[in-house]
């Protein structure tokens, strides 16, 4: 996984539950799966991914090639599942104020910073823990466990 990457932003609102995120945001925009490109970034408001723990919704974002989800806040189950699937999920206060749809963003997971290359704004977030980075580096929890359990380190 890249720790520094750029991508185009798609912007969504508050309190999107996993049922409406399922099918690559189909509940909000049934055509979104046709517009989104691998490497794009989803920017959303509060409580992203609230509701069901079903993995269909986060997996649909992963399968569509989304590079990261950045939201004001993300439900715990949803955030963990995205990371366990190898997709960086970032809680970043104030992000929706500095990003418009179509902006080019640069994300640095190690320093904990999102830069909006289109308007020069930046926002900081809590850098990922070593454990989270290790899971993301391996591409998710299962590949991580495959390696660590084989080495008997868990």
């Amino acid at each position: 996984m890249k720790r520094l990457f750029k991508g185009k932003a798609w912007k969504f609102g508050d309190c999107l539950d996993s049922g409406n995120i399922n099918g690559v945001m189909a509940g909000v925009d049934p055509e979104f799966h046709k517009k989104v490109q691998p490497g794009d970034i989803i920017v959303a408001g509060i409580n992203f991914g609230m509701g069901s723990s079903s993995e269909n919704a986060p997996r649909s974002l992963k399968d569509a090639g989304i590079a990261a989800v950045i939201a004001e806040s993300i439900s715990n189950i949803y955030l963990r599942t995205l990371i366990n699937l190898g997709l960086p999920a970032i809680e970043c206060s104030g992000i929706s104020q500095v990003v418009e749809e179509g902006d080019e963003l640069e994300v640095n997971l190690e320093s904990g910073e999102v830069r909006n290359l289109s308007n020069g704004a930046a926002r900081r977030f809590a850098p990922f823990s070593d454990g989270t980075i290790a899971i993301l580096d391996k591409g998710g929890l299962i590949p991580f466990l495959r390696e660590t359990l084989a080495r008997d380190e868990v």
């Binding site: 508050d14 309190c15 539950d17 049922g19 409406n20 509940g27 509060i46 409580n47 609230m50 509701g51 069901s52 723990s53 079903s54 993995e55 986060p58 997996r59 004001e72 806040s73 439900s75 715990n76 189950i77 955030l79 963990r80 599942t81 366990n84 699937l85 823990s129 454990g131 998710g140 929890l141 299962i142 466990l145 495959r146 359990l149 084989a150 868990v154």
Partner: protein, 425 residues
């Protein structure tokens, strides 16, 4: 420094003497709940069983971590689609190969209620479940939260889970709750006060003098709704009422855990329950709650008492009390889906199901039912005792879902519109 209930359970589960909010812990899980649907088809390489099997093969392990701690429930019987049927078949295959406790047939119902009724939840335990409403068990004084299936595979392989210790919000309940108030009213009021983002990834710890007066069924409802305010978990301190309940359903001992007097909370909120009004949540998100007066006269097409939030014996009793000798309004279909077969059989033995059926209520088998299955078309309105009113949750995105207590649902079903249940009690 003192610790909260949640911090003490997190410390014990990770073999530490002390933890504080923000600490990363590697906790050993006491119980793992998995629902049928999560297993998927055995041959599906992206399903729970397929991923788990592939992981075991690749590292040369043959067995799951601890079959004694794995509980599986069939949430929908009979399975109404092939996916669910495949999940149930795979769950049985998993049991044969790895061992687990599986509830099906007349022993099942909705898994969260089965977990509690069958004695799998004890005070002080650290429990995770492959369903978002696994937070329900906190009513018995344990830590419990929902996880996704990838993480479930991790727990099946290692028995452990990484977790950031959450900060706790202390919710003090005081005053004298009136007889017309149930857990659903109280939690809808609390959620509205905290706001949609007010408890995100935090613990809600209930307390205060009025907490002791809240029934177990109402406590289960309140903790069930924790995930609807995007909290990580919710917990009631063990007290005489809950310990008595646990002793009835669980053989063996347990270690009840209490918060220290000098435990630190991120914030404290106080709710006086004296003279409290019934609460209803408007469509959209469950934190849209307001006193019922604002909704009186809203026409309804469907009334539903069910889900892991509210269809326990307390709820079936109040519904029967309100509907006894009455009829559901001609323009309304009312569905009652008991939360477990335990509640179903008790309601039958008490004559409640007959009362409901004579009032033209459609009483269904015990399962998740129309909480997860479409039943509303565009333009229809439902008053539900469930936990979710998101757009499209029960069918068409343009259907409206109001949330209220079973008393509010039953009274509204008679009137054909949302009414104050106090007129019917």
């Amino acid at each position: 420094m003192g610790m909260t209930i949640t911090e003490k359970i997190c410390a014990r589960a990770s073999e530490k003497t002390e933890v504080k909010p923000g600490d990363m812990i590697n906790a050993t899980v006491d119980k793992l709940y998995i629902k049928d649907l999560r297993f998927a088809k055995a041959e599906d390489p992206k399903g729970l069983y397929g991923v788990f099997k592939e992981l075991l093969n690749s590292i040369g392990i043959t067995r799951a971590w601890d079959p004694e701690r794995v509980i599986i429930n069939f949430d929908e019987q009979p399975a109404r689609n092939t996916k669910r049927a495949e999940g149930q078949l795979t769950a049985k295959k998993f049991k044969e190969e790895h061992g687990a406790t599986v509830y099906e047939g007349e022993l099942a119902g909705i898994g969260h209620n089965v977990m509690v009724e069958k004695g799998h939840v004890k005070p002080g335990e650290f429990i995770v479940g492959a369903d978002s409403h696994s937070c329900t068990y906190g009513a018995l004084g344990c830590f419990s939260t929902g996880i996704g299936f990838t993480e479930t595979v991790g727990v099946l392989a290692t028995g452990k889970i990484w977790l950031k210790v959450p900060p706790s919000i202390y919710v003090e309940l005081k005053g004298k709750p009136p007889s017309w108030i149930w857990g659903k009213d109280i939690i809808l009021r609390i959620m509205a006060a905290l706001g949609p983002n007010g408890a995100i990834n935090r613990t809600i710890e209930f307390g205060g003098a009025a907490a002791a007066e809240i029934s177990m069924d109402s406590r289960l409802c309140m903790c069930n709704m924790a995930v609807e305010m995007v909290a990580l978990n919710a917990v009631f301190p063990p007290d005489e009422r809950s310990i008595e309940y646990v002793k009835q359903v669980c053989p063996g001992g347990f270690q009840a855990v209490h918060s220290d007097p000098d435990a630190e909370y991120e914030s404290r909120r106080v709710f006086d329950l004296t003279n409290m009004e019934p609460f209803v949540a408007a469509p959209g998100v469950p934190s849209n709650g307001r006193p019922i007066g604002e909704f009186i006269g809203t026409k309804i097409d469907q009334a539903f008492i069910g889900t892991c939030s509210n269809a326990r014996i307390e709820d079936l009793r109040v519904a029967a009390k309100i509907l006894k000798g009455k009829k559901v309004h001609a323009g309304v279909r009312m569905i009652v889906t008991p939360a477990s077969y335990g509640a179903y059989f008790q309601a039958r033995d008490e004559g409640l199901l007959e009362v409901l059926q004579k009032a033209k209520v459609l009483v269904t088998a015990s399962e998740c039912g129309i909480c997860t299955r479409p039943s509303l078309t565009s333009g229809e309105t439902c008053i539900s005792s469930g936990n979710r009113n998101f757009p499209g949750r029960m069918g068409d995105r343009d259907a409206k879902i109001f949330l209220g207590s079973p008393a509010t649902v039953a009274a509204s079903a008679i009137a054909g519109e949302i009414v104050d249940p106090r007129e019917f009690l």
